[in-house]
């Protein structure tokens, strides 16, 4: 069975384009809603791309703005200016 990484975000209006971008960029990602939050699971690896978020919100986005909406995560993290990656070693 594939080990899953996850990211959980507050389910508020600001986080919607981020959630949409994640689901579009990671076809295997599965969102799970519970009151107040969305947890997105994905086998092995999940990428949050700055450009995908910017395309949805129509302004520049600093990936560190994620901190304001982030609830939790699981996986080895690597972050640079363009993407935020969570992964388990296969």
């Amino acid at each position: 069975m594939a080990d899953k990484v996850f990211i959980a975000l507050q389910n508020n209006a600001d986080a919607q384009p981020i959630i949409e971008a994640i689901l579009a960029d990671n076809p295997e990602a599965v969102p799970q809603e519970s009151p107040g939050m969305v947890k997105i699971d994905c086998p092995w690896r999940l990428v949050v791309r700055r450009e995908s978020i910017e395309a949805r919100i129509g302004r520049e986005f600093d990936l560190q703005e994620l901190h304001v909406h982030l609830i939790s995560l699981g996986g080895n993290l690597d972050e640079d200016d363009d993407q935020f990656t969570l992964a388990w070693t296969r």
Partner: protein, 507 residues
């Protein structure tokens, strides 16, 4: 104009780039605590914070989180948000949080300030500094959020006093004091990794989501705001563990022993959180058993698979946690219920709808064992003989939880382990706690065990449970005891009627 620096360059400049080589004193004298645990570090520069957060960005985003949080707390208070809770029983969970968890946040603030001072690597020092400030923020925002409830409900009035005196609060307190009296590497492994990465998702995700479902906007907001800091702490925890494992193979058995110990201590502490979820949330999001399945058996185990490449295996006794998951909270609630005269929160027998939910979630074992017991307690209460133990329990020398859990392979037999050190016998609740004791017996023989101290007259000379309650500043049958008939319940019912009244009804 010069090109803006990338995240990786900024991080390097703003962390290691700000550090310097001391010239007056050798490093070993400046950082005397980062070697005695036996952890070998060859290259501190190999440390990297994967978030690459620098102090300037830290202040910016934390300020934004605070602005959002306090706007919501203001709205909650100004609009009498307490009236929109699902039920006043819910507040027992919040009381336990205030009395048990909030002081841990403050302890974590102190612990990380100390650990941050102890490491000679600048990256690790800065990550600890941020976590130390975060933890202080969590303690403060929780106190602000809960202070509103103190205007309307009992049990919120004296948490700091209770933290020092209440027998059941020694469960969380002893957890943190154990960590804070360890060395800096063990401290960070215990709190950032074992507790935060592996276990706190269970408190801050399903429980806080439950708070949202039960109408507690204040707790939901600080809870998620705090957990966004926790994702940074977890990342620090995973980083410190990988760093130790990568630096030297001799570190592997030391780290494994810490993971074994702190998984078990954290799991034991979470028995209280599971009970908050299953029993104190009037509207349920998921059961403890389901949450354990998602957050430990899926997410936690995935993390350990990842660490297998370093020679790390799953923590010892994880299989015991799996065997206990369908009974942990039911056994814990029975204890809280019977010792209710010495608690700063209310307890009760769940209603029929809740019992049905538990039968559905927990199946045969609940229906055949715990449901009849709860129904028996209800019958006693209805006869006017509400059951209180009115004594104090024997508690585990390590986790300080009453020795009431059952044998992993037999839920009909109480699990007790007797350990010995320095010519004295001590009791443990499980093989997990007995292993922890036996690894460092001279540490745990020093633990003060509340019931023993109370019976020795160290609790203000209290001679019975009611005098002891008064010494905690708990008013009998107001702050303590049964929920049904309590002032909290009477007020709640009156306010709900008033709240629902419309001018037309009033006419």
């Amino acid at each position: 104009m010069a090109k803006k620096l990338g995240l990786k360059e900024r991080y390097a400049l703003m962390t290691r780039g700000l550090d310097w080589e001391p010239s007056y004193q050798p490093l070993d004298k400046l950082f005397p605590y980062d070697s005695y645990e036996g952890i070998v570090i060859k290259d501190w520069d190999a440390w990297a914070d994967p978030f690459r957060l620098t102090m300037d960005a830290y202040w910016k985003y934390q300020a934004e989180k605070e602005r959002k949080l306090y706007a919501i707390l203001d709205a909650f208070q100004q609009n009498n948000g307490q009236l929109n809770l699902s039920d006043a029983r819910y507040l027992s969970a919040v009381k336990l949080w205030l009395q048990g968890v909030t002081p841990l946040e403050y302890a974590a603030h102190r612990g990380f300030a100390h650990a941050g001072r102890a490491f000679r690597g600048a990256g690790a020092r800065i990550a600890c500094q941020m976590q130390s400030i975060d933890e202080l923020r969590h303690a403060q925002t929780q106190l602000h959020a809960f202070s509103h409830y103190n205007k309307f409900f009992s049990g919120f009035h004296n948490f700091a006093h209770m933290r020092d005196r209440a027998w059941y609060l020694s469960i969380p307190k002893s957890f943190f004091e154990d960590a804070m009296t360890a060395g800096p590497f063990e401290f960070v492994t215990s709190i950032s990794f074992a507790f935060e990465y592996v276990l706190t998702n269970l408190l801050f995700m399903p429980f806080v989501s439950g708070a949202a479902y039960n109408g507690d906007m204040a707790t939901t907001t600080f809870g998620f705001s705090a957990q966004s800091d926790e994702s940074r702490h977890m990342t620090l925890g995973l980083e410190v563990v990988k760093f130790m494992l990568e630096q030297h193979e001799d570190n592997v058995p030391i780290v494994q022993a810490w993971l074994d110990k702190w998984f078990w201590r954290g799991y034991r502490l979470l028995g209280l959180v599971g009970t908050m979820m299953d029993y104190m949330l009037p509207k349920k999001v998921m059961s403890w058993q389901e949450a354990w399945g998602i957050y430990w058996e899926e997410n936690g185990v995935a993390l350990f698979h990842d660490l297998a490449r370093y020679g790390i295996r799953l923590p010892k006794h994880h299989e015991v946690a799996a065997k206990e998951k369908n009974r942990l909270t039911h056994e814990m609630w029975t204890v809280l219920y019977q010792y209710g005269n010495a608690l700063g929160l209310h307890t009760w027998v769940p209603n029929d709808e809740e019992l049905d939910w538990m039968s559905e979630k927990y199946g045969e074992l609940f229906t055949s064992m715990y449901r009849p017991r709860l129904l028996h307690l209800r019958e006693l209460e209805q006869r006017g003989e509400r059951f209180f133990n009115n004594r104090l329990p024997m508690v585990c020398q390590v986790c300080q939880i009453p020795v009431f859990y059952t044998e992993p392979d037999d839920p009909h037999v109480q699990c007790v382990r007797i350990v010995e050190a320095a010519g004295t016998k001590h009791h443990c609740c499980s093989d997990g706690c007995a292993d922890i004791f036996n690894r460092e017996p001279m540490k745990y023989v020093q633990a003060l065990i509340p019931p023993q101290q109370i019976y020795r007259g160290e609790a203000g000379g209290a001679r019975d449970i009611f005098e002891y309650g008064a010494w905690l500043h708990l008013e009998r049958d107001v702050d303590t005891g049964e929920y049904r008939g309590s002032p909290d319940q009477r007020h709640w019912q009156a306010w709900q009627q008033q709240h629902k009244a419309t001018p037309a009804d009033a006419a």
